[in-house]
Symmetry: C2
Subunit: 504 residues, 2 copies
């Protein structure tokens, strides 16, 4: 069966993807029927004369597509074809929300079943994932960092057990970096976390009891919502406009709901891309202080400013020193490495470190050490400069495409950085309903309901441009424009027809 597999070594398509395509062909064509057992990766790797990781990666792709499934203890098998009703799943599939959180229910896992592959192969341009462009990853430089760290005299320390607070040299670096940026206060300390997601989870575990209120942005990134809901929080959403959360709205929410804390993303908020202006930052801080409410500032995207002047963080503006600042390498460097941090008053950091220790001992030290090397050697700054340049081109392609392609009556945010913008279609267009039609033509996005705290805005959706090239962004928006325009024509015709009928 697999004897017919051939690789084209002159192709730019990686071998594992060539293998994946050929196996997919065999399955979809029925050459490999449902229930058939695939050879073990070791076996097939030997037969084909390739690396075992190559075969594993091809199998992994097939499994993600729902074409095969693994049984521990038995091996991998070709899956049964899906029922046609599985097509209902289309809007959800292939769409990894920020940080890998699959869409659907904020906690939903990727669906399996063959429906997935249909949509995935169709969905060539995905505006659904808030992530950086993988093509920009400086793999060579990253490899050099690994080499330097593991050639260094501290290699044994890195590979041995670590501290729940984080790898000390990384903490030292972050501390000095914060000082240079005027961020830290005398009583502050740093906790390294597995990305911002874990920082929120630890805060929720430390501070919330079931039923406690947290004030958040509406719409909100689903991962934040999931972590807070998991801790039993009651979420109160404050609307995010073009300029982020409005200070008066915020004050009313604190007044009315006495939250345990408030979570804000002042720079290029996910999903809207909105940024809070300086004056509003001062006002939000004053409001929080007046109500004695702790501010948690998620600054995941702050470094990704492509134009305009950087604004100081809430943490930098807060003389009381009480604001908690969350940062991460995941959006500015490599999302697959789970290294973020929190700068907060020392007693809180100590308390969270205790919880973290019982949770997973400490954050992976290899990634901490390699990212430190990446940062302190100046490579991160160089990478950021390139990423910002590329980001500006992406952003401009997205804004220009929206302006050209979206139907009259649409509105969209106009951020100066980040990975996302927020689109609102004119009535009667429903972004959720239209997604399946867009996907049939190979383009996807995430509808507002994934980000809603209260009632979702059916006309809105998130357009994540960070993972696409300017050309892909333009092509994708052209398709979306067509889909939306066609629907407007269809509904106006139907509307007219309905009206005619009514008149009769």
């Amino acid at each position: 069966m697999t004897g017919s597999i051939r690789f084209d070594s002159s192709s730019t398509i990686p071998i594992y993807r060539q293998l994946h395509r050929q196996l997919r062909g065999m399955i979809v064509s029925g050459m490999m029927p449902a229930g058939q057992r695939l050879p073990a990766t070791r076996e097939l790797a030997q037969d084909l004369g390739v690396n075992r990781a190559t075969v594993s990666s091809a199998y992994a792709l097939l499994e993600e597509e729902g074409l095969i499934h693994g049984h521990v203890g038995r091996g991998s098998f070709v899956s049964a074809p899906p029922h046609s009703t599985d097509y209902k799943r289309l809007p959800v599939m292939g769409e990894v929300a920020e940080g890998g959180a699959r869409a659907g229910s904020p906690l939903a896992l990727p669906p399996s079943g063959r429906a997935a592959v249909v949509a995935q192969s169709a969905s060539e341009i995905s505006f659904a994932t808030s992530r950086p462009l993988a093509g920009l990853f400086p793999i060579e430089e990253f490899r050099d960092c690994c080499h330097e760290v593991l050639g260094d005299e501290v290699a044994h320390t890195v590979l041995q057990l670590g501290s729940p607070l984080g790898y000390a040299p990384l903490r030292q670096y972050l501390m000095e970096d914060a000082a240079e940026n005027g961020i830290g206060r005398a009583n502050d300390d740093i906790l390294v976390t597995n990305g911002c997601q874990q920082a929120i989870d630890l805060l929720a575990r430390a501070m919330l009891r079931a039923g406690d209120t947290v004030v958040v942005e509406e719409p909100i990134y689903p991962g934040l919502k999931a972590a807070l809901l998991q801790a039993g929080a009651r979420l109160v959403g404050v609307p995010v406009g073009e300029f982020g959360v409005d200070a008066a709205d915020f004050a009313r929410a604190l007044e009315r709901d006495s939250p345990r804390f408030a979570l804000l993303t002042p720079n290029f908020q996910n999903p809207t891309g909105a940024t809070i202006p300086l004056e509003a930052r001062h006002a939000l801080l004053a409001t929080a202080r007046a109500h004695g409410v702790l501010l948690v500032e998620n600054d995941l995207y702050g470094e990704l400013r492509y134009r305009g002047e950087a604004l100081p963080t809430l943490k930098a503006l807060d003389d009381s020193g009480e604001t908690v600042l969350l940062g991460s390498f995941s959006k500015v460097a490599f999302p697959g490495l789970r290294v973020g941090w929190m700068i907060a008053p020392q007693p809180l950091v100590r308390r969270l470190a205790e919880i973290k220790q019982a949770t997973d001992l400490h954050t992976d030290q290899l990634s901490q050490a390699v990212l430190l090397r990446f940062a302190e050697s100046g490579r991160l700054a160089r990478h950021l400069a390139r990423a910002r340049q590329a980001g500006l081109a992406q952003l401009e392609a997205a804004l220009d495409g929206c302006l050209r392609e979206l139907p009259d009556g649409s509105s969209f945010t106009q951020p100066d950085g980040g990975l996302n913008l927020w689109v609102r279609l004119p009535a009667p267009l429903d972004a959720d309903v239209l997604l399946s039609r867009a996907q049939m033509r190979g383009v996807s996005y995430l509808a507002a309901r994934y980000f809603a705290v209260g009632r979702p805005d059916a006309q809105a959706f998130r357009l994540s441009f960070g993972g696409l090239t300017p050309d892909e962004i333009r092509r994708g928006l052209r398709v979306l424009g067509q889909v939306f325009h066609e629907e407007l024509e269809r509904t106006s015709l139907t509307g007219a027809a309905a009206m005619v009928t009514a008149l009769v």
Copy 2:
């Protein structure tokens, strides 16, 4: 001040340790007084012509010792000397329980204050940490693995966002490996976790409500205890003897306490080193099934068998397929990399993956990919062979040393693998009290109270030999033997004197 720093490039002592020693000297001697600000790492690195990581590492060591402290936003400062009462902390310091959990309260963080450094420099031989010998780490081979992974066509996938279930090629590998070892069942699936610690935390979060009972081993590894208590569990301990948990005791506990699940470590249990024989494994399984209680099997140490025949895991013996098996690379390879896994029925794995996603999205992918490469390239097997050979020599040195040096009336477990054994001293010796005396002579261990579920056995302690060379083990045990013998003499003299007094 730092102008007097000189490095000996011909020395085998790494530069960061040379720097650390010289700075320590300046602080301890008062040359750098309390409150003095240390130069920023970048500055000092430039002055000394060394790597910035070298300076950070030296500062990190000073901070761990409590000699300096960092203020975010201001820099690092020399700490005030401790009060003499800090010496009470001696038994706790420098002692990292398994997986980096500091001793004291199971959740206690490392104490700061200058007491630490006194004990640390004194405690040259630490039996306090259950960890592998860092000198055995095959750094070169590990570096090659990083290089291969990052040179591979899948590098972009590794650095991009991943799945909460784990890196698919690693899951595939673990699945095939489990199949070869007769472990998986048709309905099983695999979840990659941040070490075993996170597996327990996720299980606790998914399955426990406050007040629910969990049956565990007595004594137990503090990290397990901490994770379960954090979820509000009520712990019931079943005593661990030379042959692990007794089946009849276990049956009584299940009968009486109707636990949500039972957590067992059949191979080389931490802290005792005890292994459950084959027949008892069958009996424990039958008991669990009869009571409808889920078994969670912690097999962290199973691969570290230095002599005798390997025994099948409970998971392999369980035809019902319901047992949950926890494995990890951390004890057999590199503890600083947080990669473990769980093999369990698919519905449970899916549920835990949802919780994991809201907790920290997914486990670090660089470490997953590098460890996969380490395993599938055959390097892990070669490393394990070397580690087992070294482990046998360590184990024999520990058993032989106990036999020679411990006072009459002592008893100790005689494991065939793992990193720990359990010692019980004759009355009236108190292991906790004697620790401070042992530490004054440069040797430390962890007293039974850190591992107690119920009332601790004051005469017992854990002797972790895995991180020491055979020579260190022998020297350390000689010192312990002296301390214990001296105390016995002292108490018998005091006893005699007391008796004389009483007779008068």
